[in-house]
């Protein structure tokens, strides 16, 4: 707006500009490269192929179920972290956010050790009920919840911390139980934060690879989601399919980020 301020903004020191340009190149070039290498003429037939459609359907279903599960468990976790004075809260926060920085394949190994047929919990499930999780669609969902729920918890906890608590206090003085207050006052106030968290969680679940391939395996229609299909394609020498799948996932990610942008800028 202000002309003097604008000229000031233009004077960017080379020490900042060059590394920034390099950084942008590192982030953007790979995606641009995919667009350049994309087999545009075969794109419709590849997108409409059975493998791609099967993987897409599986990805959409599992990511959505995983997000629903993450909402059901993640919102209460966020509430405990933001609104209570539970002892060991910081330890709990640390524990539930570990998957944010953990390599997903480590999560997959851990899930296999616990829920595998010879695992701590999985062994009992198998011996008692004959249930074996690895190589099932349920295992894909579990892997996605493990990796993506922390995104939701962090987003919702942030929203709960910035929300005005006086409304909750008023509800309590008017005689509402804590459960009613949560449902009727707290939750509606943080709905935008919950939605943003759910979208981030869904996007992360959709892109989940490492934990899924390690814990759930890879079989078309049951466990082979879009990222796994792309990995199989590149390892089978089918780079065209891998490129098309990558473009598809980039398109989804960009759409989500653009949709969330306003919110991010608003809270920045």
């Amino acid at each position: 707006m202000n002309p003097t301020r604008r000229t000031e903004d233009l004077r960017v020191p080379a020490g900042l500009l060059i590394p920034a340009a390099l950084g942008v190149a590192i982030l953007v070039l790979p995606m641009a490269g995919l667009v350049v290498r994309a087999p545009w003429s075969d794109l419709p037939s590849i997108l409409a192929s059975d493998e791609v459609l099967t993987a897409l359907r599986l990805s959409l279903v599992t990511a959505t179920v995983a997000t629903a599960a993450a909402l059901a468990c993640g919102v209460p976790i966020a509430w405990l972290l933001a609104r209570t004075t539970l002892p060991g809260r910081s330890v709990l926060r640390g524990l539930v956010t570990v998957p944010l920085v953990l390599p997903p394949v480590v999560g997959g190994v851990a899930l296999l050790m616990v829920f595998g047929r010879r695992g701590l919990v999985g062994g009992w499930l198998y011996d008692t009920f004959g249930i074996s999780l690895p190589f099932t669609t349920e295992a894909v969902v579990l892997a996605q919840v493990f990796v993506a729920m922390p995104f939701l918890v962090v987003a919702v906890e942030g929203a709960l911390r910035t929300a005005d608590r006086r409304y909750d206090d008023v509800a309590a003085t008017l005689g509402a139980t804590s459960w009613t207050t949560f449902r009727r006052v707290t939750l509606p106030a943080v709905t935008p934060g919950v939605l943003a968290g759910a979208v981030l969680c869904w996007a992360r679940a959709l892109g989940e690879f490492g934990a899924t391939v390690t814990f759930a395996g890879s079989f078309p229609g049951t466990t082979r989601t879009l990222p796994l299909e792309a990995y199989v394609a590149i390892n089978s020498g089918d780079s065209d399919v891998a490129i098309v799948l990558s473009l598809l996932m980039i398109a989804v990610s960009v759409t989500i980020l653009v949709g969330l942008r306003e919110r991010w800028i608003g809270t920045a």
Partner: protein, 264 residues
């Protein structure tokens, strides 16, 4: 200043990794052609089929005594994935695949120098966890929906070989997971998560006591040939030739034989 330099180092490192592509790009990027051209020395990057993991690592240890100046860096993976990396320009010196189909693709892509040489052969085994909890008795059990079965992806060599073996036996398998390399399938059996898997005999042997094999009649009829070649753009051709000579020569023959590979 220090912080700026650190940032730059990190960026450059990241760029190099990106430029090379692939998981082991950073090691390949630093490939040193070696100063001396007489005595093979320096770093040799070998892309090799996953089933060669133990044998080739053993071979590298052996070469340490005869060629102390050579530093062998391996990248193990599915043969077709490795060829795909090469065709995308991954810098490497030697390629060893688990079948001739994938090597032929590399030859057709112009990344191979000279004629590939077959250095070993392998057969498949029906592998089960120790104690055989699924009571697997033969190939026909792989069609059992109730058993957890792991087979390699059909486009990778071990999957192609598995398909030939199943076809010959007239069995339509009902796999629960398709792995992109044979070691993944071997691990699932060793962990007891899969009741049965078709893996190479050598991989079953490499898993030791955790894995048993079930006799499959005519398994020896489906043989996979393992070719090796020096690569056209090898940063270290002398080192590459020394490694290929070791693989195809006496040290390779002994080590591969111990692992259960057949002689070509």
């Amino acid at each position: 200043m220090t912080r700026a330099r650190l940032a730059l180092t990190v960026t450059v490192a990241a760029l190099l990794t990106v430029a090379c592509g692939g998981d082991d790009g950073d090691s390949a990027a630093a490939a040193d052609p070696g100063e001396a051209s007489q005595v093979p020395s320096g770093r040799v990057t070998v892309l090799a089929a996953a089933s060669l993991t133990e044998s080739f690592e053993h071979l590298a240890d052996e070469l340490q005594t005869t060629h102390p100046d050579l530093e062998i860096v391996y990248s193990f993976g599915s043969s077709s994935g490795l060829v795909e990396q090469l065709l995308s320009g991954a810098p490497a010196d030697v390629l060893a695949t688990a079948d001739t189909t994938t090597m032929d693709e590399a030859v057709a892509g112009g990344v191979v120098d000279g004629e590939p040489r077959i250095f070993a052969r392998n057969t498949l085994a029906l592998a089960v966890p120790a104690g055989n909890p699924g009571n697997v008795t033969g190939l026909a059990d792989l069609a059992n929906e109730d058993l957890r079965v792991a087979i390699c992806e059909p486009q990778v060599p071990c999957g192609g070989a598995a398909q030939r073996l199943l076809d010959a036996a007239g069995v339509t398998a009902a796999p629960d997971t398709l792995t992109t390399d044979v070691k993944e399938a071997a691990s699932l059996v060793a962990l007891g998560e899969a009741d049965a898997a078709l893996i190479y005999l050598t991989d079953a042997a490499a898993e030791g006591d955790a894995v048993e094999t079930v006799d499959v009649p005519d398994a020896e009829d489906v043989v996979s040939d393992y070719p090796v070649a020096v690569l056209a753009d090898a940063p270290n051709p002398e080192g590459a030739r020394a490694v290929v000579d070791a693989i195809t020569g006496e040290p390779g023959r002994v080590i591969l034989g111990e692992a259960g590979f057949l002689e070509p």
